[in-house]
Assembly symmetry: C2
Homo-oligomer: 207 residues x 2
Amino acid sequence: MRISQLSGEAGIPVATIKYYLREGLLHDGLLTSATQAVYDESHLRRLRLIRALVGGAGLSIAAVRDLLGVVDQPPASGHDLLGHAHQAIIGSEVRPVDITPVDTMLGALGWDLAGCDDAAKSSVAEALEGMRSAGFELSESTLATYARTMHEVAEAEIAGVPTESAESAVRYVVLGTVLAEPLLLALRRLAQQAASRERFGVRPLES
Amino acid sequence: MRISQLSGEAGIPVATIKYYLREGLLHDGLLTSATQAVYDESHLRRLRLIRALVGGAGLSIAAVRDLLGVVDQPPASGHDLLGHAHQAIIGSEVRPVDITPVDTMLGALGWDLAGCDDAAKSSVAEALEGMRSAGFELSESTLATYARTMHEVAEAEIAGVPTESAESAVRYVVLGTVLAEPLLLALRRLAQQAASRERFGVRPLES
């Protein structure tokens, strides 16, 4: 198909598609003349993926390029998979925060953090520090609920990683990690509304 | 204190503080001459709050202004609290997605959605649609885990809402909702690393 038809099918403007081509996010079409190319299903699939990462997950073009790089060239060994995917998503930057409270706190909750890198721990420490410096006091019990539920979520997710090929495994981890974030947060807000109604009611107590 | 000292204490450049003053996010200091003002602890607390919302939670200046508006002028009745807070955070826009699958799906999981607005449901529908259009198949069991754990999280959070004043309740809800998001997501990624290590190991199986 021509780029105009690709644009219609994907619901993405031609100018944006050309931008993705220039940025190397989308592979070139097959040239049929010096100025024209044709595109196929693989381009459509890739465009939908880019749209979900940019729009749905709100990632930057640079982060999307890194992620697509991991999807296109998955690491050879299975156990490096999550590390590579996470690095593409959050970078490997260890922020200048003290991570010992995170080790202590999660260790007390029974987490085995031996295989976890400092970048992931520093994200947790930074998030805790952000709440603290905003004057928000997170109760021990709510924090324990966060930790326990996220552990359950991660176990369900990792149990579902397909193992028939490294490509499918990486695709699952990368997309699942990024694309499920808006879903989890939206479910939480919806559940808060339901829980709030239960606690505070929608009308004054009837006598 | 002078603005330079305020800057030092808050770790925020003077130019940024002046920008927040112009944008109305930070209340004016007390004028001591035509060109000089002094600031106090209330300015420092507010700056730390703004920094957490902009930096930690990654909100736009416009969203922060809306949020601070809710914190400064909380709704009179307790049960409107969460609605106002969520509206400031996510807006009241109902996106053009079909929300009936969300009702069906969460109804089947036992959620009581009577008190929930369509904006919150459309966020869930949009997140699901984002995964689907990216070609990511979310299993029924993982989705059920997401829904169940987010319900637990919300119940713990709503149970912790302080009720001594509307201001403290709104502050808790607004900040808790926004500031806990990076924490939840960071905990999930850390837990994924731990779960991945458990499933895939960190070295080849020893013979």
